[in-house]
C-alpha cells in the first residue's frame, strides 16, 4: 500500500480571500491557529467535519480545497 497524502490549497485560497490570515481562518473553522498551520503544511489531515468547515469558510467545496493523492 502506497503512502496516502492529502494535499490542500489553503494558502492559495487564503490569499484569494482578501489575504485571510491563519488566525481568521482558524476562527471561522473553530480550531486553533496551530491546527491551520499543521494542515497547511500537510502535517495533519483534518476530519471530514473540519474539512467541510474550512471549505465553507472559503465558499468552496471540499474537493476544491483538499485533494486526495495516493
Amino acid at each position: 500500500m502506497g503512502k496516502v497524502k492529502i494535499k490542500n490549497k489553503l494558502r492559495q485560497f487564503r490569499f484569494e480571500n482578501n489575504q485571510m490570515t491563519q488566525a481568521e481562518l482558524a476562527d471561522k473553522a473553530e480550531v486553533t491557529r496551530q491546527t491551520i498551520i499543521a494542515i497547511e503544511a500537510g502535517q495533519y489531515s483534518p476530519s471530514l467535519e473540519l474539512a467541510i468547515k474550512i471549505a465553507k469558510a472559503f465558499g468552496k467545496k471540499v474537493d476544491d480545497v483538499f485533494e486526495y493523492e495516493e
Binding site: 482558524a26 473553530e30 480550531v31 486553533t32 491557529r33 496551530q34 491546527t35 499543521a38 502535517q43 473540519l50
Partner: protein, 142 residues
C-alpha cells in the same frame, strides 16, 4: 507553543531532574552509609511535585478556541503511549524477578510502592514526551 506543550516541558524537565538527582544521591549515600539507608536518596523524587504547579504557572491560551480535534487526538495518543509504557514497567517489574530469581524466591513488599511510583513517573514522562513530539511535527509554530 501552547499551554499543553509548556506543561509537558515542565513534566519532562522535573521528572528528568528528579530521577537523575535521586540516582546520584543514592549512589553517593551508598558509598558513604550503604544500603538500605542509601535508599533515602529517592526522597529527591519529590521534585516531581513541582510539575503539579504547571496549570497555575502557565495561564490559559488566548483566543476563542483553545482546544480542537488535533489537540484531542494528540492528547489521546499521548495518554495511550503513557499507559502502554507504564504497563510495560509493571510487566517487567513482575516478570524480571521471576525469571532472574526463580519461582520459589521471595521479594520484599517494599518494592510494591516503588513499582507503583516508577509506573506513574514513566506514564507522565512518556505522555509528555509524546505530546512534545506530536506537536513538534507541526513545524516552528506547531
Amino acid at each position: 507553543m501552547n499551554r499543553t506543550q509548556k506543561i509537558a516541558w515542565l513534566f519532562v524537565i522535573t521528572i528528568s531532574l528528579a530521577v537523575v538527582s535521586s540516582l546520584i544521591a543514592v549512589a553517593i549515600l551508598y558509598s558513604k552509609v550503604g544500603m538500605p539507608k542509601a535508599l533515602t536518596g529517592f526522597a529527591l523524587l519529590g521534585i516531581v511535585g513541582f510539575a503539579g504547579f504547571g496549570p497555575v504557572i502557565f495561564p490559559k491560551d488566548k483566543g476563542k478556541i483553545i482546544c480542537d480535534e488535533r489537540d484531542t487526538s494528540i492528547n489521546r495518543k499521548a495518554a495511550i503511549a503513557g499507559f502502554g509504557a507504564s504497563y510495560l514497567v509493571v510487566g517487567l517489574a513482575c516478570m524480571l524477578p521471576f525469571s532472574i530469581l526463580g519461582p520459589h524466591a521471595t521479594v520484599s513488599v517494599v518494592w510494591l510502592p516503588n513499582i507503583f511510583m516508577a509506573a506513574g513517573l514513566t506514564s507522565f514522562f512518556v505522555h509528555s514526551v509524546v505530546i512534545l513530539v506530536l506537536y513538534g511535527r507541526g513545524g516552528k509554530n506547531g
